[in-house]
């Protein structure tokens, strides 16, 4: 009986999280994986891990933090398994020349493609911080998800803003 109720609660929590954060999880999978079929695979892995994780959810943190933690952990693990790209730090990214002269009429599709490429090129946890920054999270929430200190998150956000300013039109980076 208890087990049945637990399973029901697990399903309910998963359905709630999936409805609320489904689009965010989709964006996260896009940022981690360029190949469409691998991306769908990753997304399913994330959903499965999320469902499994809810058997141990006792409101230790907010639902949002929980969902993002699971999703990022699956994303990072999947990236390690799938390929061995040369990843770089935010500091090194600062040294790279900007990706051509920023054009005046950059289409949002191109902007997204460049953002995805930037995130995929970044080492963990820099890529995660950038992703969460784009999801409009504050430094405290990013720290809770990544495990970085508030100061470390703030430093990274500062670098990310500079990086985005160099790579995208001024108006896009506000």
């Amino acid at each position: 009986m208890g087990h049945g109720m637990d399973a029901r609660r697990q399903d309910d929590l998963y359905l709630k999280a999936s409805a609320e954060y489904g689009p965010a999880l989709d964006r996260l999978a896009r940022a981690y994986e360029a190949d469409p079929s691998l991306r769908l695979d990753l997304l399913q892995d994330i959903h499965f891990a999320l469902w499994r994780s809810f058997s141990g959810f006792a409101e230790q943190c907010s639902l949002r933090t929980w969902v993002y933690r699971v999703a990022h952990n699956v994303g990072i693990s999947g990236r390690k398994r799938r390929r061995r790209l040369q990843l770089i730090n935010l500091e090194d990214m600062d040294q790279l020349p900007a990706d051509g002269t920023p054009e005046e009429d950059v289409h949002s599709t191109q902007t997204l493609a460049r953002l995805h490429a930037l995130i995929r090129a970044l080492k963990s946890p820099d890529g995660q911080v950038m992703l969460l920054y784009l999801e409009d999270m504050d430094a405290g929430a990013i720290g809770e998800i990544t495990g970085l200190s508030a100061r470390a998150v703030a430093t990274r956000i500062h670098r990310i803003k500079a990086l985005l300013a160099r790579n995208f039109r001024q108006g896009e980076c506000s």
Binding site: D11, Y14, L15, S18, G22, P23, D26, R27, A29, R30, R39, L40, L43, Q44, H47, F48, A49, W51, R52, S53, F54, S55, G56, F57, Q60, C61, W66, R69, V70, H72, N73, V74, I76, S77, S108, T111, L112, L115, S124, P125, Q128, L134, E135, D136, E144, I145, T146, G147, L148, S149, R151, A152, T155, L164, F168, R169, G171, E172, C173, S174
Partner: protein, 193 residues
């Protein structure tokens, strides 16, 4: 003018990315069967060795080697039990995934490093008594039909082969543990920032 966060949040969503509970259950079943298959391969390898040794003992091929053979069987059974304990009884809880990214990955790496660094104790040491006993018996056998020089060379070859094999196993585990240690240290530096 659209800011970058708005562009990010308004990006199109995969059309076929809807995942239902039944999809999840199919994946859960696949996940369990993958684990069973992996463990099954490990058990099959060890059980094949046990069966071969037991068959040799029961046929009385070399009565001299019965006792060390039994020790090797015991070692295989011990390793099977260790594999079972490490992969089933200590299976990771699903909610481990919900730890902060740095903590989760450090814990994962520490778990792997623990298994690698301790491999000499649970994977190598159990085989040593039976192996050393067998080698000692062979070294003191002195078959009448083999010239002493050839016999000594053969014994030396057997000892060196065993040393080479088990040292390679130990080095492979130690190297893996050292690499994990470097990665853990990197995470510690990030955590301390």
């Amino acid at each position: 003018m659209t800011d970058i966060k708005t562009i990010w949040k308004n990006q199109p969503v995969e059309e076929n990315s809807m995942i239902t509970l039944s999809d999840i259950r199919v994946r859960a079943a696949r996940f369990q069967s993958r684990i069973r298959l992996r463990n099954g391969a490990l058990y099959a390898y060890s059980l094949a060795n046990v069966a071969l040794t037991a068959w040799l003992i029961s046929r009385g091929v070399s009565p001299r080697y019965t006792a060390p053979g039994l020790l090797l069987v015991a070692a295989h059974l011990f390793v099977i039990w260790q594999l079972w304990w490490r992969t089933s009884a200590r299976a990771l809880p699903g909610d481990l995934m919900a730890r902060a990214a740095l903590d989760y990955h450090r814990q994962e790496l520490e778990r792997q490093r623990g298994a690698m660094a301790g491999a000499w104790l649970w994977y190598i040491l159990p085989f040593m008594p039976g192996l050393i006993w067998e080698l000692w018996l062979r070294a003191t056998l002195h078959p009448a039909n083999v010239p002493p020089v050839a016999d000594r060379a053969l014994v030396l070859f057997l000892i060196l082969s065993a040393l080479f094999f088990w040292m390679s196993v130990w080095l492979a585990f130690s190297w893996a543990a050292a690499r994990l240690e470097v990665r853990i240290e990197r995470l510690n530096v990030l955590k301390a920032e």
